[in-house]
Every structure is written in structure tokens, then in C-alpha cells.
């Protein structure tokens, strides 16, 4: 008998609601079964890890819970613990953080001026935001260009005319470039712009700053680099190096691919020499050897020397990361740009770099995280980064004997910054992804 709708007694017209899955196939139970207990090997590994984690937590928790936050010295901490019937190592002595957090963060920066590094940090974040997040209006990039000079002025103090004159010098160069660009070859215009800037900084700069400061004195209290310390020192060195090394690294990577042998070989030698020597040796060079070669009596600021060395070091690594990105671009992209009649700089700016940088993002951010943590190496040349400050604090009569509390605090600080960088990198990768998700 043919099956027709006539002789079927029941036709379902709407879909049944899906049934509740069995308990073992849903929610937490499913997750645990799939992720933790999917095979015998996984069950054993889960058990081992869970045991270790719980053991660790049980051991650590009382130490944290009994932590003393208010005390004047380690001996005082122990006395408070003893009053509570606890042994000297049964509770952490976080009072050292309460007492010295400002030194771990700012070093020996004058306490009444703490607002300046804080403001500089906010200015830096404000300046870097338009670069980091494409949804912000592009006109804010002018602010980004001015922010580093503002940070410089806030951190070191002195006359406002110094950063303003630097800005003027850069503007002169830019004006010359734009003015000549239309009339003569761009490369010659660039050389003219550089020459005019060099002329300004060599001859006009010092008198201008002096004259302006004498006529309209605007200055804030100067702070010597020696007084920088703690996390602020690491951030100053790390962030300056990050900001400066990226453009330098891009130029180096392009130079290494150049067809002009002089440029190409200079870039190769620079990159290989810098990469071939450990950072610590460059830091020792910055601290000690440079002084032999400078004329006697010149004292070129140590922190500045370190920033330059770290920047050059990071730039060499960034250049290699970006070279990887450049190499990964299909040849057709270069050829396509050429066939459109784009000049070298046009094709680099519009076609090559946007794609190459996108590929290089994880590598670049990885470099930056490494660089940020490498700033702690300056402790070996006697600069007081967070670790250096912690060592000095450990030597004071009050806190001699404190150990883990300081390092936990420093570790947390670094973790927050590095984790934020890592998350931003993920965000950037996702927002730049052009393939099908």
C-alpha cells in the first residue's frame, strides 16, 4: 500500500523540543569527563596534579592568611605572630610592602613629585591608545607623537622649552620635507630635511632653549636619573625601548632587504653584532666602557645610556622578527605593487608592511614582553630596578631577613604588565584576521 498523507494517522507539524541530555553528557560533569578523565592516563595525571595543587594551596594559605600588614620591622612582625601563638615563619610579613611599596614602585623619586611619573604613565597610555585601537579617531595620532616628549618632561623635569624646541626641530624637518617633496626627488628632499634638522639641533637648539627660558621661564623641578628606581625605572627603560625600537627595527629589516650593498651590509653587521653579544655585556659597556671613550669630565647620563643600549638591542631582534614577516609575503605581492607603478616607499607603506607586520605581531609582542622583563638586568650595573630596590630593602636593619614577600609583590607587578601585553596581542591578531573565522 502506498504511503500517502491520507492513510497516515499522525503527522508531526512542529519539531519536538530537544530532550535534556543525560547527566553524564552535560555541564560540569561533561567538561570534567572530557577534559580531565577521558582516559586512564589522564585520570592518573589529573590526580597527581590535583594532589600537588591542593597540597601547595594548603601549605601556602595559612602563611598568606596570617600575613601581617602593619608592623615597623621584621622583628615586630615576628613579635605580633608570637602574640597570636604562631611561629616566626607561620605568617608572611607583608608589612614590608606597606612600609616600602613606594620605593619598590618609584625608587628614590621625591615623594612629593610622585604625581609626575603617574601622570607620565597616563599620558603614555593616552598617547599609545590611538595606535593600539583602530576604532579611535586618527586625528588623535598627533597627540601620540607629542606624548613621549610630555612624558620625558614630566619624568626628568627642567624647562618646558627643551621638549618644545625638540618639537620645533622635528616640525622644521617635516616642513622642509613636505615643501620640497613636490619639486625635487623625494630622496633628495629627505636628505635636505635631515640636514636642516641637523643644522637646527647643532646651532639653533641650545641658544633657543636658553633664550626662551630666560625670557619666559617655565620649568618644573629637575629630577636626576639617579633618583629613578623600582618599577618606574623598569617601565621607563622598557617602554622607551619598546617605543623606539619598533621603528628602528622596521628600518633595519627593510635595510637588510635593500638592493644597495652599503645599506644592506651595514644593517647585517649591526644586527649580527648586537645579537651576537648578551644584553648584560652591552649594559656593562654602557656603564663602564663608554666612559673611557668619552672625553674626561663628560658625564653622559647612565639611564640614558642604558635606554639607548636596550633600544639598539631590541631593535636588532625586532628587525629579525619583521624580516620573517617580510619573507613570508608571497612574491606576487611585491610584483603586484610594482606593476601598479607604486614607488618603493609607496609599495612598502601600502602593500608590504601592513601585511608583514600583521604576520609578525605575535613575535613582536613576544619580544616586547621579553624586553620588559630583561630590564631587571640593570641591577647588575648598580641601577636600582625593583629587584635592586628589594635587595637594598633587605639590607636595612628593619627588614633584613625578609625574602619572599618582596619577590611576590614584584612578581605580581610584572605579571600584570606582561599579561596585559599578551592579551592585547591576542586582541590585535583577532581584529586583523582577514581569513574566514
Amino acid at each position: 500500500m502506498p504511503r500517502t498523507s491520507k492513510n497516515i494517522s499522525f503527522v508531526r507539524t512542529k519539531l519536538l523540543d530537544s530532550k535534556v541530555p543525560p547527566t553524564r553528557e552535560k555541564g560540569v560533569v561533561l567538561w570534567v569527563r572530557k577534559n580531565l578523565l577521558s582516559s586512564w592516563l589522564n585520570i592518573i595525571l589529573t590526580a597527581i596534579v590535583a594532589y600537588a595543587a591542593i597540597h601547595f594551596a594548603i601549605g601556602l594559605w595559612p602563611w598568606l592568611k596570617n600575613g601581617i600588614w602593619q608592623a615597623s620591622s621584621l622583628a615586630d612582625c615576628r613579635a605580633i605572630l608570637a602574640d597570636a601563638g604562631l611561629g616566626p615563619t607561620d605568617g608572611a610579613c607583608f608589612a614590608v610592602i606597606t612600609d616600602r611599596w613606594h620605593q619598590l614602585l618609584f625608587g628614590f623619586y621625591p615623594p612629593d613629585l610622585y604625581w609626575r611619573p603617574i601622570l607620565a604613565m597616563l599620558l603614555f597610555i593616552g598617547g599609545i591608545a590611538p595606535i593600539l585601537f583602530f576604532s579611535l579617531p586618527r586625528s588623535l595620532l598627533v597627540f601620540s607623537a607629542l606624548a613621549p616628549l610630555g612624558c620625558f618632561w614630566l619624568l626628568w623635569g627642567g624647562t618646558l622649552w627643551l621638549p618644545l624646541s625638540i618639537t620645533l626641530g622635528v616640525c622644521i624637518g617635516y616642513a622642509v620635507l613636505r615643501g620640497l617633496e613636490k619639486h625635487i626627488a623625494p630622496s633628495i628632499a629627505a636628505v635636505c630635511a635631515l640636514a636642516s634638522m641637523a643644522f637646527f639641533f647643532l646651532f639653533g637648539f641650545q641658544p633657543l632653549v636658553g633664550f626662551a627660558q630666560d625670557s619666559f621661564p617655565i620649568s618644573i623641578q629637575k629630577v636626576a636619573s639617579r633618583e629613578f628606581g623600582g618599577f618606574m625605572l623598569g617601565a621607563t627603560i622598557g617602554l622607551s625601548a619598546i617605543v623606539l625600537s619598533l621603528p628602528l627595527g622596521i628600518l633595519l629589516a627593510l635595510a637588510r632587504q635593500s638592493n644597495l650593498p652599503l645599506i644592506k651590509w651595514s644593517a647585517i653587521i649591526f644586527i649580527e653584532v648586537i645579537r651576537g653579544v648578551p644584553l648584560i655585556v652591552w649594559l656593562f659597556t654602557a656603564q663602564l666602557l663608554l666612559n673611557y671613550f668619552l672625553p674626561p669630565g663628560t658625564s653622559f647620563d647612565l639611564t640614558l645610556r642604558v635606554i639607548i643600549m636596550v633600544t639598539l638591542f631590541a631593535a636588532a631582534y625586532i628587525a629579525e622578527v619583521i624580516r620573517g614577516g617580510l619573507a613570508a609575503l608571497p612574491k606576487g605581492q611585491y610584483e603586484g605593487a610594482d606593476s601598479l607603478g607604486l614607488s618603493y616607499w609607496q609599495s612598502t607603506r601600502l602593500i608590504v608592511l601592513p601585511q608583514a607586520l600583521k604576520i609578525s605581531i605575535p613575535g613582536i609582542v613576544n619580544e616586547f614582553i621579553g624586553l620588559f622583563k630583561d630590564t631587571t638586568l640593570v641591577v647588575f650595573i648598580g641601577l636600582l630596578d625593583p629587584i635592586g630596590v628589594a635587595r637594598a630593602i633587605q639590607a636595612t636593619p628593619e627588614w633584613n631577613g625578609v625574602y619572599w614577600e618582596l619577590f611576590i609583590f614584584i612578581g605580581l607587578l610584572f605579571f600584570v604588565v606582561c599579561y596585559a601585553m599578551a592579551r592585547y596581542s591576542l586582541h590585535l591578531e583577532n581584529s586583523l584576521r582577514r581569513d574566514h573565522k
Binding site: R78, V281, L289, S299, G382, L384, A395, T396
Partner: protein, 343 residues
């Protein structure tokens, strides 16, 4: 990391030898005066010798030597730029002109004086190396330490002394190299090494901070002489004189009974003891002979005190470090401190 640091240290230790002749011009005093402050190399953190208080002021026995020299030159003991230098970089920092003087618990040795081209101007602390062990180890003499593991600071005379001592006694040991005092404490307390060696003053200070000090004992043997003194560069004797006599002024002041409290009063009139008058500048003009003000030594004593006051303030029995004067007492009281006369 450590290997790299040490390799760099070796490299840099050789550098000053090659370059010392060309690097630094003679008149350090003029440079210091022009800079407006004394660049003084200090320890990055050693209990009692150099450590920052919660206001960020460096304090300690070595720090007060820097302050004394600044007081002599500028009449103001605050005109010092403290430059923390590590054990590995201190001599290069001095030779390269990064610092004007070094007051960083530096042991005066033959090779450091001659080969490394430093000038030690005197001794501000007599120390000696000792050993600390847990009581549980059941050791009562350093001669029983055969086959133990020892926590030892790298780049210091400490390291070399242990090697010499054990070789001399025909014993073996396993060194655990460490970079800082705090790290050493932690390694020792966690049992990574059986023995903790270092300057006896430091051992006593460390032991006092342990959670259970009574579980540890400092062995009686002192295996080395550690005369710690301030140093300056080779080749500028005028500068050397200023630092040397600033230190001598501290010691002489204690011997003559001049303190930060009574110096002003003693300088007000001529005393029976002519040396006090010469020291305080009320008779003769010793200051002019080293290019300083007449009252240079008085300023030192009013601003930092005499040697005894400095000692008691930073490492004496009333501090957490709690050291007796011992060999660091004046020669008149059975110690070794002895200053040539101010004449």
C-alpha cells in the same frame, strides 16, 4: 646568568689595566667641586654599611665615610650622589671615573692596591671571615667541615679565602655560588648549603634576623684578615690626601674626645690640647694644606660625628646588628684603630 656576569666581570677587570693611563685627568677635587657633589660608590645593600631608609636616604658605616668627605669639601654632608656598585663592577667604576671614591666594604689587598691601580686610604672597619652552621650539623670547629657544601658570595675575597683555607687543611668542599646576602640567607635557611661563610660582622647580623637564631652557631675560627677601607684612583695624590685625612679626622676625633655634640663648643676657644685646636682649625691652618677650608674637620665631626659615634649608630651593640667594638676599638682601648697625628 651567573656565568655571563662573571665572564663580563673578567673582561671588565682587564679593561682598566689597558686604559687607566689614558682615561682620567688629574684634578679630581676640581671636578668634584665643579659637579657640586661627590660621586661615592657604595654597596647596593648591606646591613649596617649601606641601605636606604624608608625616606630613601642611604645610611650606614660606609655611607658616613662618603658624607664625611662631602662635609670636608663642601661643608655640607648631604652633597653626595650615592652610586650603588656591585662587587664585580666597583673597581672599573672607580677607574673609569663613574665614581670619585669607593666606600663599599672593600678589602685592601696587594693586587687590588697595585695591579688594579687603586689607592686605599686607610681602614674603616677590620673584619675577618668566619663560618656559620646549623647546630644540627653537630660541628664545633671549622676543621670538621670536610666534604660540606658552602654558600659563598661570588667576586669577593670571601670566595678565594675559602678555597685557600680548605686547600691548606687538605679538606674538600662544594661551593654554592650566590650573588647577594639575602639570597645566601635564603639558601642557607632552606638547607641548600650546610655552611654559610662571609665576614664575621655580616654573619652575626644575618644570624640575628633568622627565625630561630639559636639553631645556628658561628664557628670560632676566623680564617682571614679583611681590612675594609675606602679607595680612590691611582694617580691623584691630592685627592687621595683629602679622603685619607677625612677618615683620619673621624678616628682622631674619637681619640681626642671630640664628638658631634661638643665640637662646636671646643672650637669656640683654644684648648689645652693643641691637637684638638689643629683638628678643629682654631690653631694653624691644616685645611689650606689640602686645599680645604680651615674648619673642614670640624664640619665633618659636627655633621657625621666621630668614628665611635658612627660605629654605634650603624653596627654597635644597640643596633639590630649588635657588634662589639672588638678590634675596631681605638688603639688606646685594645683595638687597631690608629690615626697619624694632626700636625
Amino acid at each position: 646568568m651567573k656565568i655571563i656576569t662573571r665572564a663580563a666581570h673578567l673582561l671588565l677587570a682587564a679593561a682598566p689595566l689597558a686604559l687607566a693611563a689614558t682615561s682620567v685627568s688629574a684634578a679630581t677635587l676640581d671636578e668634584v667641586k665643579e659637579a657640586g657633589q661627590l660621586k661615592c660608590g657604595i654597596h647596593e645593600g648591606l646591613a649596617g654599611f649601606a641601605a636606604p631608609n624608608s625616606d630613601g636616604q642611604w645610611q650606614g658605616l660606609d655611607v658616613d665615610i662618603c658624607r664625611a668627605v662631602a662635609a670636608a669639601i663642601f661643608g655640607d654632608s648631604e652633597k653626595v650622589e650615592y652610586i650603588p656598585v656591585t662587587g664585580s663592577t666597583r673597581f672599573t667604576a672607580l677607574a673609569s671615573g663613574e665614581i670619585d671614591m669607593l666606600a663599599r666594604t672593600t678589602t685592601w689587598t696587594f693586587s687590588r692596591d697595585t695591579d688594579l691601580k687603586n689607592e686605599f686610604v686607610g681602614i674603616n672597619f677590620y673584619d675577618g671571615q668566619g663560618f656559620m652552621v646549623p647546630k644540627a650539623l653537630g660541628v664545633s670547629s671549622a676543621l670538621e667541615l670536610d666534604g660540606t657544601t658552602i654558600c659563598v658570595n661570588t667576586g669577593t675575597t670571601t670566595e678565594l679565602n675559602v678555597a685557600d683555607y680548605f686547600r691548606g687543611k687538605g679538606m674538600s668542599y662544594e661551593p654554592v655560588p650566590i650573588e647577594t646576602g639575602a639570597e645566601a640567607q635564603q639558601q642557607f635557611l632552606s638547607g641548600s648549603c650546610d655552611v654559610f661563610t662571609g665576614d664575621a660582622s655580616g654573619l652575626a647580623a644575618n644570624r640575628a634576623t633568622f627565625p630561630k637564631p639559636d639553631d645556628y652557631v658561628v664557628l670560632p675560627e676566623i680564617i682571614s684578615k679583611e681590612p675594609l677601607g675606602p679607595a680612590v684612583r691611582h694617580g691623584d695624590s691630592e685627592w687621595e690626601d683629602i679622603v685619607r685625612w677625612s677618615l683620619n679626622a673621624l678616628i682622631s676625633a674619637e681619640e681626642l674626645g671630640v664628638t658631634s655634640k661638643n665640637a662646636e663648643e671646643l672650637a669656640g676657644s683654644l684648648n689645652e690640647n693643641a691637637e684638638i685646636n689643629r683638628l678643629l682649625g682654631t690653631e694653624g691652618d691644616l685645611g689650606a694644606m689640602i686645599g680645604l677650608e680651615t674648619d673642614w674637620a670640624k664640619t665633618i665631626i659636627t655633621s657625621v660625628g666621630n668614628y665611635g659615634e658612627i660605629f654605634e649608630r650603624h653596627v654597635g651593640v644597640n643596633t639590630p646588628i649588635g657588634l662589639e667594638r672588638g678590634v675596631n676599638a681605638l688603639w688606646t682601648e685594645g683595638g687597631l684603630l690608629y690615626s697619624p697625628p694632626f700636625r
